[in-house]
Amino acid sequence: MTEQIERSEASELPGSKNVGHSDGLTNDTVPTGDVVAQATTPRLDGPLRFALLLLRAGPVLILILLVVVIALVTPLFLTPRNLGNVLAQTAVIAVLSLGQLLVIVTRGIDLSVGSTLALATVVGALMFQAGNSSFLVIASMVGAGILVGLINGVIFVKGRIPHPFIVTLAMFTLVRGVALWLSDGRPIQGMPEVVQAIGGDSILGWLPISSFIVVAVAVAVWLLTTRVVWGRWIYAVGGNPEAAHRTAIPVSKILISVYVFCGLTAGIAGFLTAGRTNAGAPTFGNLAELDAIAAVIIGGASFLGGRGRVSHALVGALMIGVIRNAMNLANLDSFFQLIVLGIVILLAVESDVLRGYLENKLRLAQAVRT
């Protein structure tokens, strides 16, 4: 009889009200040791699930907390003018992190995006100097990004290189070198008006137009990752490359495509930077790749691949922007910004590890019950 009760109980959905109910019943009728043990598992379940929920919501909660605390400390923070500043400063990181997100989901990394951003601005500035149309200037910036991404992806995949770290590290210096060479190591003034407007103007006196570009890219990435076959395959490749291969998912093409997309976002980020500064310069985007990677990880995506959403990249980018802005407002030395950001990254990675640990415990708890 005990056997039967256990079976019917196990077939209930854990966490549903039915489980608790039947637990009470069995405790009354058959008070054996086994049943008592069964009754305790859901209790272990609850806190675990809550802790996981908290960890998942962590980045958003921390961002909200940050905003509240900073707003209380510095009244300047919540003024439209300053918020516009934060958004404008975050736009480039946000766009870069949206591209980086897809790469990280496939267990990769792209160190070259900062250099690619610089190259894009230089190419755009040279195109403008040569008297090309605004359209061609923009196309050349975005195209430069796509080209670098394609090279990254093809060398990584077709060269059978075990990890993209080295490939993109090589491109990190190579592309910066090309940008320096093309520009003779000097900034080049001048960008078409459209580019200046999109990269630097705001509406209502505070809301930067670049924010709309961020939103557009974010919506595109969200649609691609959640509604389209390509996105599903990216997560499959990130979750289990071997199984993806066995289920006839075109793993190589998917991997190349995420680097191409990442390069595209670097091109767009270059376009925004060039517009904001009305120039192209080989020194732009220095260390921007690290900001983008940090944003994705801080936002809650997993460095181990397979997991990460658009919201993660955006929240992470905003968090970096807010922290920098707050420390500027507080007149704190910029050295501290680096220290704080480093600590935040460590906390984020550690919470990812903790999440994996808790999920494993939850899994074991379920095996005990079924």
Partner: protein, 251 residues
């Protein structure tokens, strides 16, 4: 039994360097029947199922599906023919839910004039079909949205088996489906195997667990050093004979 075999392996031979992994092995696999493949480590069980699922190509001998000789060059070819294999590593995507796992690589999507990667997923349709298959096999999952990495070993095994059977497959090959499972979870998986048989599918199971073989299999073949050394009805009565064939005594 008057049923025609789903898959026939005739005189299969496979060599890896100097090792004769399969030596003139012939097997008939029949719909609505569970066939157990038994044998010690290195007896050739894995090589046999891998040649049925398109991983290995035979050096000599033939494989017929529904009476027609076939050449399988890849697991994808085997799947086209309705042969699905669940290996011990399960090949699940731990970061994805049951539905995404079911449809990985064969997502329902449209419209068809778009390149495949850009087609829009038919998410509702896929999740409905997944629930149907899981219901049919009476697999209860805690949460249809949760990634399978959060599920227990038995639940994951159940998802992998259900996935293998979801797409009108005729033959399901299971490699050690109950290894590493607790008693109750193993019983669940055996129940699923019986349901597959009752649905008229052909099932091939590799297992070391004698009790499970006796419980679930209709027929058992025993392999030793690449050769088929016995084929018998799997029942309590033949248990001793099977064991002695495995270890190499004269049964």
């Amino acid at each position: 039994m008057t049923k025609d075999p789903v898959l026939v392996v005739s005189n299969a031979t496979k060599r890896f360097g100097g090792v004769l992994a399969l030596d003139d092995v012939s097997v008939d696999i029949v719909a609505g029947e569970v066939l157990a493949i038994l044998g010690d480590n290195g007896a050739g069980k894995s090589t046999l199922i891998k040649s049925m699922s398109g991983v290995h190509r035979l050096d000599s001998g033939s494989i017929e599906v529904d009476g027609r000789p076939v050449q399988m060059h890849s697991p994808a070819d085997a799947r086209e023919l309705g042969i699905e294999t669940v290996y011990q590593d399960l090949a699940l995507f731990d970061n994805l839910g049951p539905t995404s796992n079911f449809y990985a690589g064969r997502e329902l999507s449209g419209p068809s004039w778009l390149p495949r990667g850009m087609r829009v997923l038919k998410r509702r349709e896929m999740s409905r079909a997944t629930v149907d298959v899981l219901d049919r096999l009476q697999v209860a999952l805690p949460d249809m949205e949760a990634p399978v990495g959060l599920m227990s070993g038995g639940q994951r095994q159940a998802v992998a088996v259900a996935r293998a059977t979801a797409f009108s497959s005729r033959l399901v090959i299971l490699d050690e489906p109950t290894a590493a499972l607790g008693v109750r979870e193993a019983a669940r998986v055996l129940d699923i195997i019986k349901r597959l048989r009752d649905e008229g599918k052909a099932v091939v199971v590799i297992s070391h667990a004698m009790d499970h073989v006796i419980e679930v299999a209709d027929r058992a073949i025993v392999m030793r050093r690449g050769r088929k050394v016995g084929e018998l009805v799997a029942s309590e009565d033949s248990r001793e004979k099977i064991v002695s064939l495995i270890v190499g005594g004269e049964g």
